[in-house]
Symmetry: C2
Subunit: 370 residues, 2 copies
């Protein structure tokens, strides 16, 4: 199967093999060595000198951790949303009692920095800004550097980032951009199975943490920090995924972040060009289209469920559907991690074969080439 959803992504065989290593004591010397090594390497990928913690949860758990570790009930936060995952960030904050002001942009669009500035000017009591870097539901990448320049440089607010489908795939400079907390998860560019999430935590985030009164236990970073000092996790972690993470990080840093980001940019461009070559339309504006996931409009007259089923059954290609209000309106192609041009060509060839069978009429079908 060519698994081309925006996570989980196909995991290279050697990393999958690491998942089968025998169990060890998570409070013993061997685990301590791994924990310190991967923590150090995670910091290199995050480009931060601050703390990075490893949680056993999905990315949503890490988003919750970002919120509950830095905020108090009744804190006023600005949730800047461009899709389903942006909405989720705001719901988490309001679930734990924050007063959330929503700044939403239409699906398929990116954050407009001018409107962000306006919102922050208009409401000076805002404590924190919640932002999605790469919105998986719409295939849009926000300009996090520009967003951070406003949030931090101009207004000096706490900046919490959902970097779940960006860190380790797209350039993210945690310290240079002054991101206070960034949440990400193992099943994305890290080339791992799901099961672990990573959370960077700046000095400013620690200051906020001292005042933050949202209740937290499993996700309380204080415990992670205290145990990290003795080389242990506070609770039993996903040991197998730690083995795999150890190997993946070695490969990622051996390749180098520059090469990794360039590969993602190239494969993103190839995907978009190929989609257009099929006579299909991208869902987001090209200028903000993501290099980790491509969202494509389902053409008029095409049943997306049938399209995805035939791609899976006849071509062994698994694509993602649209979520919530986008269900039936878009489909999504994931291209994180070690995705090759052949993987994408395989998708394009499959689409070229299946589309005419599911009601698509276009003069350009067949002109995909490669």
């Amino acid at each position: 199967m060519n698994l081309r959803i925006p996570g989980p992504i196909p995991v290279p065989d050697d990393i999958l093999d690491a998942m089968s290593e025998p169990m060890i004591n998570h409070r013993g010397p061997q685990f301590k060595e791994i924990l310190y090594r991967v923590t150090d390497r995670l910091k290199q990928v995050f480009q931060t000198k601050s703390d990075v913690y490893i949680l056993t949860s999905s990315g949503t758990g890490a988003m919750e951790a970002a919120v509950v570790n830095t905020l108090s009930p009744d804190d006023h936060v600005l949730n800047v949303s461009v899709g389903v995952f942006g909405e989720r960030f705001g719901i988490i904050a309001s679930t734990f009692g924050a007063k959330v002001t929503e700044l939403s942009f239409p699906m398929g669009k990116a954050i407009e920095v001018g409107k962000l500035r306006q919102a922050l000017s208009a409401q000076p009591d805002i404590e924190a800004v919640l932002v999605t870097h790469n919105e998986t539901s719409t295939g849009v990448t926000n300009d996090l550097a520009a967003v951070a320049q406003v949030v931090k440089g101009e207004f000096d607010k706490l900046l919490l980032v959902d970097g779940i489908s960006s860190v380790c795939s797209l350039p993210v400079q945690t310290d240079a951009w002054q991101c206070d907390v960034i949440a990400t998860a193992s099943q994305k560019g890290w080339m791992l199975p799901p099961g672990l999430a990573f959370l960077s935590f700046s000095e400013r985030a620690w200051e906020a943490h001292q005042r933050a009164r949202m209740p937290r236990f499993y996700f309380d970073v204080s415990a992670y920090q205290r145990y990290l000092e003795i080389g242990q996790p506070p609770y039993t972690p996903s040991v197998s995924t730690m083995f795999a993470l150890d190997l993946a990080l070695e490969q990622i840093l051996t390749e180098g972040l520059g090469s990794l980001f360039e590969r993602h940019a190239t494969i993103g461009q190839m995907t978009r060009d190929g989609i257009r070559g099929l006579g299909l339309d991208l869902f987001p504006d090209e200028s903000v289209a993501s290099n980790t996931v491509t969202a494509v409009k389902v053409p008029e007259g095409v049943d997306s469920a049938l399209l995805l089923a035939q791609m899976r059954e006849d071509h062994e290609v698994v694509l993602g559907g649209g979520q919530q209000s986008l269900n039936g309106k878009i489909f999504r192609i994931g291209h994180m991690g070690r995705c090759t041009p052949e993987d994408i060509q395989d998708v394009l060839d499959g689409l070229a074969a299946v589309l005419p069978r599911v009601g698509f009429r276009s003069a350009t079908v067949g002109a995909t080439g490669g």
Copy 2:
């Protein structure tokens, strides 16, 4: 390595191999099939017709889920504790705002049902009782059937159970005993790596859930229930551990729960007999000693850190130390899952060799036999 801590436990090779299966779409038909099959089988092991949910977290996450899904801030709860994990359950409840009355028994002792009855009589406004079935930190198994008889049969309170190191190793009759919520985790008797936790949820727990106002998002069972209806998890789960769980449950139910419980009882007895044969003392009273973990007093004059290090380095046996106030005072031998008499004999032989070298003086050392 003979990993004899009370979790993670050694995972059989075929189950480890399942951890390396290629990733699949967690929202696709193959995952749906697995999810429904393992959920059905989990219910068989829990001996319940109620819901069982699969969380991607450690057991502590599932304890938090038990609390936040059924309680509100200011609810009065009785936390019945016999060790470190019992204390943790109470801390979680108070962290989320419950008014917690502690009923603690000394380390190494089990719950006295009479005192439990007394506490519930004295404080009729108690809404819920929090109980540890098997206290891993002290090697004590509480009589959950008797506890439940008081909590449910006599007082009809909500009963939340930490069954982390008991379910799938010791007899647990969720429905017959009327346990409302039981939390457990994959790295115990389930023979899996850590990374998943399981939570049973009774009809009465759902009633409590409707009123419960503690904030929750990642652990909110409503989302797990809603998504289970369409055969999906709400958030990206630990897919690899789901593959392994699928195989483990097949093996567990093929063996049969009766045989599995009997094996654990036999291996527990063998461990305790062997320990006494070495001239060592059990930490808990024999009558309440656990069949999943044996806690042993560190003899006078013995440095437990040295003992554990020599067991690891010279005999490839990894034992657990004492936690918190028991650090240096006890060590622990885990015997959950597919632990064999040979595994335990290996531990006993190692102890017989190492103990005299680390300061132990006893006439009976060497008389271990087997």
